[in-house]
């Protein structure tokens, strides 16, 4: 084979990859973003999309591929959010000789310390970038830790029982954070130092970009994992764990790995989210938003299909964010007949889940059954075997 055809085939392989349509969509969205700079609604939708894309892809890894009924997604998100809310700010406060102990989180002190930290961050690029990276690493580590802890019952339990225990575990951290004011302020939100302060007026746009880049990297990572021998092992366990064990797969190990990876990724999303909002509060992480909405996104898009999951997040985030922002303006008339438009979000969630189950249980983009090896390589092997037989 000459080098020319090699380049040609690798180019062809590149274009037919799933990453390409996603890149095109992302670029189109970003162009639109910059064209409409400064419109907060659009920024909100974009950030919601990227954050939930990361979370839903992590959920899809655990539920769609490894078959763990992850009804406690919120636990890992909280782990990341609390880690970023509690740890990096304290470290900087310690360096700056500011109070960094339990009093860091008290509402009388926190609102005075954090602006000082922000002023320091805004003065140095290196410090800002370092702070952001450190925050994300801390988030990922604490997420992985939580994932490992919640994977312990996953060894013994199955299906509904596992789902219920994960559901119960999901809220556990929220209540710890709510009642232990020394960590992230308990019922009073604490401020999170802002590494994007250095961008001044462009802050929001840059955050959107960063979260988008993170989401895109997660997308590539998940795609790679899904179409690898590791992805194959996960699907084997999902389809039949006894049969997978008989085929030499260490079921407990693979389940644990998938939960640790998924939780670490979801925790990064949680960390990014509190950096974006600039505050962290335990009650901000309800299972409706951080467990059940990702489930609805995943179900609409197609369980076990990364591309489908992105599509589901995209469609429903627009709808959901619009409802959350405009419910009182658009649906204020409901108040006159005694219905609080606050419930519209819940109604939408329920309607989506029921609709998907009834009319398209496999989602918009159903999971494809195809070999894990890249298609070109599979075809090459099949072709050479055919030739060998013909001779």
């Amino acid at each position: 084979m000459t080098t020319e055809t090699g380049i040609k085939s690798s180019l062809k392989e590149f274009i037919t990859r799933k990453e390409v349509p996603v890149i095109v969509i992302v670029l189109a969205l970003l162009t639109y973003l910059f064209a409409s700079r400064g419109v907060p609604i659009i920024l909100t939708i974009f950030i919601d999309f990227a954050v939930f894309a990361i979370i839903t892809m992590s959920l899809n890894l655990e539920t769609g591929y490894a078959g763990v009924p992850q009804f406690g997604r919120v636990a890992a998100v909280i782990a990341g959010a609390f880690a970023v809310g509690a740890i990096p700010g304290r470290i900087l406060a310690w360096f700056m000789d500011l109070p960094y102990g339990l009093e860091y989180a008290s509402d009388a002190v926190n609102f005075r310390i954090v602006p000082e930290i922000n002023a320091l961050l805004a003065s140095s690029w290196l410090l800002s970038i370092g702070f952001l990276l450190f925050s994300l690493i801390i988030a990922a580590i604490s997420g992985a830790l939580i994932g490992w802890i919640i994977s312990r019952p996953a060894i013994r339990l199955k299906e509904a029982y596992l789902g219920i225990s994960l559901l119960a575990f999901g809220d556990f951290l929220m209540w710890v954070g709510h009642n232990w004011s020394g960590m992230v302020g308990g019922s009073v939100p604490i401020y999170v130092p802002d590494p994007f302060r250095i961008f001044a007026v462009d802050r929001f746009t840059v955050i959107v970009l960063v979260i988008f880049v993170a989401a895109f990297m997660v997308f590539i990572y998940m795609n790679r994992l899904a179409r690898s021998p590791f992805g194959r092992s996960m699907r084997m366990i999902r389809d039949n764990d006894i049969s997978a064990a008989a085929a030499g797969i260490d079921v407990v190990k693979v389940r644990t790995q998938s939960l640790v990876i998924g939780s670490a990724v979801a925790a990064i999303a949680g960390g990014l989210y509190v950096i974006y909002t600039g505050t962290c509060t335990a009650f901000g992480f309800q299972k409706l938003t951080w467990t059940f909405w990702p489930w609805a996104f995943m179900m609409l898009g197609g369980i076990g299909s990364t591309l489908g999951v992105l599509l589901g997040v995209f469609l429903l985030t627009i709808l959901r964010t619009m409802i959350v922002i405009f419910r009182h303006q658009w649906f204020g008339f409901l108040l006159n007949i005694g219905i609080d438009p606050l419930w519209l979000e819940f109604t939408l969630l329920g309607a989506v889940i029921i609709g998907v189950i009834l009319f398209m249980p496999h989602g918009l983009v159903p999971e494809k059954v195809e070999p894990m090896l890249p298609k070109s390589r599979v075809n090459k092997i099949i072709e050479s075997r055919r030739l060998a037989k013909g001779e």
Binding site: Y221, R224, L225, S228, P229, F230, G231, R232, S233, R235, M236, R238, D239, N240, I242, S243, A244, A245, A246, A247, G248, I249, D250, V251, V254, Q257, S258, I261, G304, E367, V369, E370, P371, M372, L373, P374, R377, V378, I381, I382, R385
Partner: protein, 257 residues
């Protein structure tokens, strides 16, 4: 000939119900050893105890003179002993090819190496060549790309055999490989198995349909209510009055268990 699998007084009881009672069987290398007996006689439970799906209440299981009693299924797989299931359990979200590849090892199964294709593609290509050879042996070569959920009953049984073969196992336990399959396909499945035996593999086969399977067997164990009631070459066991009584004489009682 060497003994590849030996069970010494294996007993398995479920809350007082003794499913397998002091079963001692020996599977010699490169044989087609058959385990027969009516429903509920404990054949599958015995195999489950040997392959780690269940832990025997007492007794020992030796594989190649190594004590594997109570090992986890994936550990037993590693020493070269695999099994198929009575009801085929294909991985329905995978192609036929990946079903077979799943039983072969690859460095890409570690999540650290999985994201980099370079780390596992070479091994997977090698495995695929092997898997295609195995699929050709069991006659599934043409269906490699199909989702395993689209296969028929006989093909699913063959896929189970292929999964067993792909591991490079020395001993394969087949649980009713021809159960629920028409006689022609059943004969085909067993012919494939017989060919594989010629290549040096050992088979422990649980089967109900003695008429079709007996001509392939080298040695037969007959079980009833958890006990080994007869053993020997097929002709001897099938004419054993105790076996005939279990299958015919007391058939109504046996079925009602």
């Amino acid at each position: 000939m060497k003994n590849i699998l030996v069970t010494e007084n294996v007993t398995k009881s479920f809350e007082g119900l003794v499913a397998v009672n002091n079963a001692s069987i020996t599977v010699k290398e490169n044989t087609f050893t058959m385990l027969i007996g009516p429903n509920g006689s404990g054949k599958t439970t015995l195999v489950n105890c040997c392959t780690g799906i269940l832990r025997p209440t007492s007794g020992r299981v030796l594989f190649n003179e190594k004590d594997i009693t109570g090992w986890k299924p994936h550990k037993i797989y590693e020493v070269g002993f695999v099994r198929s299931f009575q009801i085929p359990l294909p991985f329905i979200g995978l192609t036929v090819l990946d079903n077979v590849l799943g039983a072969m090892r690859n460095p890409g199964e570690s999540p650290l190496k999985a994201p980099s294709r370079k780390a596992w593609v070479g091994q997977d290509e090698e495995n695929m060549e092997k898997a295609m050879d195995i699929l050709a042996k069991v006659g599934l070569e043409k269906s490699w790309h199909l989702p395993s959920s689209s296969l028929g009953a006989a093909q699913l049984k063959l896929l189970e055999v292929a999964k067993g073969l792909s591991s490079g196992a020395k001993l394969i336990a087949l649980d009713e490989p021809i159960g629920g399959v028409d006689p022609a396909s059943a004969h085909e499945i067993l012919s494939h198995v017989a060919n594989l035996k010629k290549e040096g593999l050992t088979f422990l086969v649980i089967e109900h349909r003695i008429d079709i399977a007996a001509p392939f067997a080298d040695y037969v164990y007959a079980m009833d209510v958890g006990n080994i009631i007869s053993e020997g070459p097929p002709r001897q066991v099938l004419t054993d009055p105790k076996v005939i009584e279990v299958y015919l004489g007391k058939g109504v009682e046996a079925c009602s268990e």
